[in-house]
């Protein structure tokens, strides 16, 4: 459609990006019936992928949050998290980046008590980076009940929620389900940022399509925030790339394409879910030492297998299976053709190497 539209050219987008993209992107995150959108207290900044959205948000917070240029505001990143979170906030000027408990290696699940304790102890106004769904790298998300507890503490202690939403739709197969946490926080009256990426759920990786959704108390505050974000964008990349945003905007605003997209996303999510269950069942059939239910309980692209660095090294060197030293695997790398090989290799690694 875009290629055949001769009225389109390569002119600059506005600094904040393509208006149709920004509005649709925020709508996807917050829901069609979002009261915040109805009350016009939502804004969007088209950004270079999820990374770019995080960076613009971080730069803005460093300049304007908790005072002016308060680089001492603590920023909390989950332990573990995507490594780039640290670098984004550090390069934005924050001096005090800390971790909050998240992954319980012993029980291979969420360390909720540790997390809540950290929030209780955190200085007021600290910034917390929350993964909206499909936590990277652990694949372990809080349940709705757990999110409610998290929100309650954050509200009480005036902590700022900065959501990183890189997998909406891709985690469970449902856009709404994957956005539950963000929408819950909005309904609780929080002002928040949500860095959205369309790299995975649209497969638009190299087009660099992202959006920083800003939810504020009212329209006036949001307008002023956007005007300052515009200044930050101007000295970073001036205006964002147009191609990817056009694709997303066109898709989201056409009922037919939107349905097709939702179907595509579910297909991708379902394949990942299938690989999870197939891997788990093979490991259990082989009698591989340990428990492997975490592989199907975790969600999204990644799985924290629980393999230690030595076992990982064995897989890389002896079996030519490449994964992170943390034991994180990308489930998408599995196919029906390599499942057997991978399962057998993991079995070898675990039995041969402790």
């Amino acid at each position: 459609m875009i290629a055949n539209d001769n009225s389109l050219n390569h002119e600059y987008l506005p600094i904040l990006g393509l208006p149709e993209f920004r509005a649709n992107a925020s709508r996807i995150a917050l829901g069609d019936d979002s009261p915040a959108i109805k009350e016009k207290r939502v804004g969007g900044v088209q950004s270079l992928g999820g990374t770019g959205a995080l960076r613009i948000g971080a730069e803005f917070l460093r300049r304007w949050y908790n005072g002016n240029n308060n680089t001492a505001t603590p920023v909390y990143v989950s332990a573990p998290s995507w490594e780039n979170h640290n670098s984004v906030f550090m390069d934005a000027g924050f001096k005090d980046i800390r971790t909050y408990h998240y992954w319980d290696a012993a029980k291979r699940g969420l360390d909720l008590q540790g997390l809540l304790n950290d929030m209780e102890q955190a200085p007021e106004f600290s910034i917390f980076i929350l993964h909206a769904c499909a936590h990277n790298p652990t694949g372990t998300d809080p349940t709705p009940e757990q999110w409610k507890q998290i929100a309650a503490i954050m509200k009480r202690r005036s902590l700022f929620p900065f959501f990183d939403s890189a997998y909406q739709g891709f985690a469970s197969g449902s856009l709404d389900k994957d956005a539950w946490a963000v929408r819950f926080f909005v309904s609780e009256g929080f002002e928040l940022f949500c860095a959205q990426s369309f790299s995975k759920n649209f497969g638009l990786y190299n087009e660099r399509v992202g959006n920083l959704t800003v939810v504020g108390k009212d329209a006036d505050n949001v307008q002023r925030v956007l005007s300052q974000m515009e200044k930050i964008v101007r000295t970073t990349w001036s205006n964002p790339p147009s191609q990817g945003a056009r694709i997303v905007a066109t898709t989201l605003s056409s009922p037919q394409l939107f349905d097709e997209w939702k179907g595509n996303v579910k297909t991708m999510a379902d394949r990942v879910l299938l690989m999870r269950s197939e891997l788990r069942s093979r490991l259990e059939a082989l009698g591989t030492p340990g428990t492997w239910n975490h592989i199907t309980e975790q969600i999204g692209m990644f799985s924290f297998t629980g393999l230690n660095p030595k076992q990982v090294e064995y897989l890389v060197k002896e079996k030519h299976i490449y994964l992170m030293a943390s034991g994180r695997i990308n489930m998408c790398g599995l196919t029906t053709k390599n499942l057997d090989y991978v399962a057998k290799s993991i079995h070898e690694a675990v039995t041969k190497i402790q």
Binding site: N9, Y12, G49, G189, Y205, G216, S227, E230, P241
Partner: protein, 418 residues
């Protein structure tokens, strides 16, 4: 009980949760945006937008290059995937961008003692460089910009943590280069400072040094041990000849000055919204280049991870495909020629109007922009009485002039200057 309820009601009215952002000021409106906004609201059929920093054809319309359309068709037919580019960008693009700026016979290019990373057009490339300087340049924080320069230069360097300074450049009395002023200021810049130079088609004045003047500038910056940062946003677009427009960059490197360089393909390929650009560091040797590259990647990753592919793919195909490259050189020349022709026509129309002022600077200046020499009051009259829109400093974008409106423009300018 009633008292408690009243207190509760009161506390809800005086909501304890005020916004985090109540103290955030409204950012000042962009001066150039303001010009375009006002232009859009104007109902005069003769209105002209000379603030626009994008090329327009003789019908005042945006121009998509034919070689770009061909490249796009080729890309579409190849059904390429959308996998992430490397952090440093598309290798075929960065290599071609380096060859374009440095020249295929360049010793620096052939020996590999350079690194070029893909950047988000000119701004993104400038910002990568500015951040790199902030982190690794052992000299002063001072970056010397010509007076005047593109307004965003000051903001970019400031946001990167550097300290913008200025050297004399434009002489408003003659509407040309204040060469002695520039040389005087530059010769006094403290050693190990950074100086930014516009490679060609100076923005906003259109005033470029002549080759003999470039030679003196090179000798001086070398003597002062300054780090030279070239901004080249108009290669090919200025004179119509890509080699001629890159002459200063190549001369400096030949003189043993290891420059750093920011390139944009927004104007010369009309790829504005695709954000195709590159940042280059000339190094002592290939090993140093590898080390510099690794650090550039560490800067880029927390900014936007990796660059957009579309614009780079188009530019790469054009530069690396002989027929497309030939076509591009022709198109870039025709864009430059149209601009030059509008300059000539503007001057001759001013003469025809009976203007006795010296308008030679309009044809002496080069590139998209022209510093007319008009004063703010005259600019205001042009806008109010004739619906001709430009920035307060008297800068016009010659790209906004067409054979259809050049006569009207000359008439309007004459009315406010006679």
């Amino acid at each position: 009980n009633v008292v408690l309820q009243l207190l509760l009601l009161l506390s809800l009215l005086v909501s304890p949760f005020s916004s985090w952002w109540s103290h955030v000021e409204m950012g000042p409106p962009d001066p150039i945006m303001g010009v375009t906004e006002a232009f859009k609201r104007d109902t005069n059929s003769k209105k002209m937008n000379l603030g626009v920093g994008a090329y327009r054809d003789d019908n005042g319309k945006p121009y998509v290059l034919s070689c770009v359309r061909k490249a796009e068709a080729m890309i579409a037919s190849k059904k390429m995937d959308k996998e992430y580019l490397p952090i440093g960008g598309l290798a075929d693009f960065t290599r071609a961008a380096a060859e374009l700026s440095l020249g295929e016979n360049s010793e620096a290019f052939k020996s590999g003692r350079y690194v070029t990373v893909q950047g988000i057009s000119g701004t993104g490339s400038l910002r990568i460089g500015a951040n790199f300087l902030q982190r690794f340049f052992k000299g002063s924080r001072d970056v010397y910009l010509p007076k005047p320069s593109w307004a965003n230069h000051t903001s970019i360097f400031r946001d990167a943590g550097m300290q913008p300074q200025a050297y004399r450049y434009y002489d408003p009395k003659t509407c040309s280069l204040d060469f002695s002023g520039a040389m005087d200021d530059i010769s006094k810049i403290p050693e190990k400072s950074i100086i930014l130079l516009h490679a060609c088609a100076h923005n906003p004045t259109g005033v470029d040094p002549r080759q003999e003047q470039w030679k003196e500038l090179a000798a001086t910056v070398k003597k002062r041990n300054l780090l030279v940062y070239f901004d080249m946003a108009y290669q090919g677009f200025a004179s119509g000849d890509i080699n001629r427009d890159a002459w200063a960059v190549r001369y400096f490197i030949d003189q043993g000055i290891n420059i750093i360089l920011s390139q944009s393909f927004a104007k010369n390929m009309g790829l504005y919204g695709e954000r195709a650009g590159a940042f280059t560091v000339i190094c002592s040797d290939a090993d140093e280049a590898k080390r510099v590259e690794s650090q550039l990647k560490i800067l880029i990753r927390p900014m936007y991870s990796n660059p957009p592919a579309n614009g780079a793919r188009i530019a790469s195909l054009i530069l690396n495909t002989p027929e497309l490259r030939k076509e591009w050189l022709t198109e870039v020349k025709s864009m430059a020629d149209r601009i030059i022709s509008m300059r000539t026509q503007l001057v001759s129309n001013l003469k025809k109007e009976g203007s006795s002022r010296n308008w030679q600077h309009i044809t002496d200046q080069i590139g998209m922009f022209c510093f007319t020499g008009l004063k703010p009051e005259q600019v205001e009259r042009l806008t109010k009485e004739f619906s001709v829109y430009m920035t307060k400093d008297g800068r016009i974008s010659v790209a906004g002039v067409t054979s259809g409106n050049v006569g009207y423009l000359a008439h309007a300018i004459h009315q406010v200057t006679k």
